[in-house]
């Protein structure tokens, strides 16, 4: 069966992230990498690829999703959690995804991967808290933390920091309890983008590296390809380039802001929304790319033909940086013509055959890689 389809072009970039939405880790094949966003009445809706394989997307209210699709158990639990998530953000969705995977709802591989990721993130968050705290102490002329007494793997590590927070009360003008809460919140956020002094790679750093590697790998792979696949590879490379070009400066700016803990706290106290937005821009820009990188890696040992199929999938899923990002960076926007493309849909490998569980297993494998 052949299907003519119009794939995206840079002309179709959404205006804002509110329009683009956040990628949700659905495991129901028809909802793979579907996005969540708010409708004009502030209710959650899902933007999914057209299940017929033709042009366009399906926009379905989250509340009605089960009427349109036979959802996996994982996705039913995902919907339950997402309903209470405010605001919708990549970090919030990631936290839910890790929690569900940790429960085993996405299979044993994702369960193990989530356990690792959650532990790593907890340690990174604590380390970032230490870095921010030390900055505050230094800026207040109160010396340094005795790092030897802090075991980041220990459950009472945070409690051991309480005296340091207490010592900051006079200079900061707020109680230590409130300060701990503020730094705790901030450390999770800063850990996800990375602190310049942090001895680990942040989630954003790692994802950006994966996008760079994906772009390199596809640019190398495409040599000798022609027709549709060369065009598709070009589109993925172009989307990756746009993401990399926007994320690099965005990440540098966010890290610079995080370099002074005192200024960061003060700025956040006066305009929390604005500060959080600047800090999380890289995360929004990189949203969805980990899945693509994992998907491409999963085909490393496959035949050329199978890799071409994966490339088609990547081209359909490659996130388009919203136009709002140009404004953030003062970047001029390039406009390209649409490209008419086609793909072959394989028998027994698509939405028509009912072979949904096999496909779901593959999606769960990629999810485990991307967590």
């Amino acid at each position: 069966m052949t299907a003519n389809r119009r794939l995206f072009s840079l002309k179709q970039r959404p205006s804002t992230y509110a329009e683009a939405g956040v990628v949700a880790p659905f495991t129901t094949p028809l909802l793979l990498q579907a996005r969540l966003r708010l409708d004009y009445r502030g209710r959650l809706e899902v933007v999914a690829r057209n299940p017929t394989g033709a042009d366009g997307v399906y926009v379905v209210p989250l509340a009605a999703l089960e009427e349109f699709f036979r959802l996996s158990v994982h996705d039913r639990a995902l919907i339950e959690r997402v309903r209470t998530l405010t605001p919708i953000s990549p970090l919030g969705i990631r936290e839910i995804a890790l929690g569900l995977s940790r429960e085993g709802l996405a299979g044993p591989d994702a369960e193990a991967a989530a356990a690792r990721s959650l532990q790593e993130e907890e340690e990174r968050s604590l380390l970032t808290m230490l870095l921010l705290l030390e900055q505050l102490l230094q800026e207040a002329g109160l010396g340094r933390i005795d790092w030897k007494t802090i075991d980041t793997g220990s459950s009472d590590a945070r409690e051991r920091l309480r005296p340091y927070f207490k010592s900051l009360e006079p200079s900061m003008g707020i109680g230590s309890g409130e300060l701990i809460t503020m730094i705790d919140e901030l450390s999770g956020l800063v850990a996800s983008i990375g602190h310049t002094k942090a001895p680990f790679k942040s989630h954003a750093d790692t994802t950006l590296e994966e996008v760079v590697e994906l772009r390199r790998s596809i640019a190398e792979w495409v040599q000798g390809e022609r027709d549709d696949h060369a065009v598709l590879a070009g589109l993925v490379v172009e989307c990756a380039t746009l993401t990399i070009d926007c994320t690099g400066p965005g990440l540098a700016k966010a890290k610079t802001i995080a370099n002074s803990a005192r200024r960061l706290l003060q700025a956040r106290a006066s305009d929390r929304r604005k500060v959080d937005e600047v800090l999380t821009r890289p995360i929004w820009l990189l949203d969805g790319w980990r899945h693509l990188a994992a998907l491409w890696r999963s085909g490393a040992e496959e035949s050329r033909e199978a890799q071409r199929d994966i490339l088609i999938e990547l081209a359909e899923l490659a996130p388009l940086v919203p136009l709002a990002a140009d404004e953030w960076l003062g970047k001029p926007m390039e406009v390209r013509a649409n490209t008419e493309l086609r793909r072959w849909v394989r028998l027994n490998e698509d939405w028509r055959t009912g072979h949904v569980l096999d496909r779901q297993a593959v999606i769960e494998q990629v999810l485990a890689e991307a967590l």
Binding site: E103, G104, R304
Partner: protein, 406 residues
């Protein structure tokens, strides 16, 4: 190359950077004495897999391109109009040995740096190489004292090479798998068949075989094939098509025999065989009816036994250690194979017994976690729910999980 030298070279290559390694591998792969360097490549394979090195376009690969779709192994069944893959090395050897002096060397030079998937390069160099290779192979078939079967096969390969300059670009434009053709593709099919009809019946049979073998539902393609040729040519193609379809069914028959005769055959393998038969029954109900009936019996019997085995397994221990998760993975893999077999069986038999057995299995799984009483952890319920989801769908699984999830 001595083993020791090879080991030493493989060790040293582990130390070079990715780009250099790719360059070295490209040179090693293009050597004619591939056997000598194979141990070195084998030692590097884990790293090569990560690097995805591209395969170079060698003279041997260029020669294989027109034959590729016609190549079969013994496991593919007994077909009339094909070339035995195990003879490929021999065909390469005799063809290259008979080429005009200098041609092979000139081509090898021209192919340097080209990659196996570069369609333009394949067509460009193939146009000059394939006719010469066809002549060389045809001459060998005439000269050598080979058994008749091999001579026929050699001539078939030579004929494919002779038509390759026209046939290969046409075949490359067909969708894979070949199914539900659009108008433009039907015209393409007409061009391909015109090329086949311009030759012997063996050429027609070879082209038809490679077309019909490239779809899971060959009978569905027959109307398009016959519509693509003049009425007078249909009489020539029809008996060949019937013969190929009969060979297709015979292949499935022996595939089914293979799993039916071996109770120890893995469930996934049985499911695969039954699924292929189910496709054939959908494709040509009357001709494949008996085959379908037999496959239905095999599938149902194996399904009933397999799902019972699955539910009779001891509950998994609690925890998330690597060993426990490996056990969960194994059980889910088994459940997927059982479910696949059930779906394939459901296409061939009425399915009440399968439905009943699935319902019983779900109840048994629920009971198994209920028997744990106070020890039934949330994770135990999740694991059972996933097995239910695989076997009976997410509605039933969610119904169970909703009651037991915190």
């Amino acid at each position: 190359m001595a083993d020791k030298d090879g080991d030493c070279l493989a060790d040293r290559l582990q130390l070079v950077d990715d780009k250099k390694l790719r360059d070295v591998v490209r040179v090693l792969e293009s050597t004619r004495e591939r056997g000598a360097v194979e141990p070195i490549l084998a030692a590097l394979r884990p790293r090569l897999r990560r690097l995805r090195p591209e395969r170079p376009l060698t003279l041997q690969r260029l020669l294989t391109v027109p034959l590729e779709a016609a190549l079969v192994t013994g496991r593919d069944g007994a077909w009339s109009f094909v070339v035995d893959r195990s003879r490929l090395g021999e065909l390469h050897e005799v063809t290259l040995a008979r080429l005009a002096p200098g041609l092979a060397a000139a081509l090898e030079k021209a192919l340097l740096g080209r990659l196996a998937h570069e369609t333009e390069a394949i067509l460009e160099h193939g146009r000059s190489f394939w006719p010469a290779a066809a002549e060389a192979l045809a001459a060998t078939a005439a000269d050598e004292a080979l058994p008749e079967r091999l001579v026929v096969e050699q001539r078939r390969a030579a004929d494919l090479l002779a038509t390759a300059s026209e046939l290969v670009p046409l075949l490359a434009r067909l969708p894979r798998p070949l199914q539900f053709l659009e108008d433009g593709e039907k015209e393409l099919l007409a061009d391909i068949l015109a090329l086949a009809l311009g030759g012997s019946d063996d050429r027609c049979g070879t082209v038809l075989t490679l077309l019909l073998r490239s779809t899971k539902r060959p009978a569905a393609l027959v109307d398009d094939l016959l519509a693509a040729v003049e009425p007078v040519d249909r009489n020539r193609l029809r008996p060949l098509i019937d013969r190929i379809l009969a060979e297709h069914r015979a292949t499935l028959d022996s595939l089914l025999d293979d799993v039916a005769d071996r109770p120890e055959a893995p469930v996934a393998q049985v499911a695969e065989a039954v699924e292929r038969v189910a496709e054939a029954v959908d494709d040509e109900a009357a001709a494949a009816a008996e085959l379908g009936r037999r496959a239905g019996v095999v599938a149902e019997t194996r399904y009933l036994a397999a799902i019972q085995d699955l539910t009779a397994m001891r509950p998994l221990p609690a925890g998330d250690t690597a060993a426990v998760l490996a056990g969960v993975r194994d059980r889910e893999t088994m459940a997927r194979a059982v479910a696949k077999l059930g779906r394939a069986a459901g296409r061939l038999v009425r399915g009440e017994a399968i439905e009943r057995a699935t319902g019983d299995a779900v109840n048994a799984l629920v009971d198994s976690v209920r028997d744990l009483a106070g020890e039934a952890t949330p994770e135990a319920h999740v694991r059972i729910a996933r097995l239910i989801e695989i076997l009976a769908g997410s509605d039933r699984a969610w119904a169970h999980l909703s009651q037991h999830r915190t």
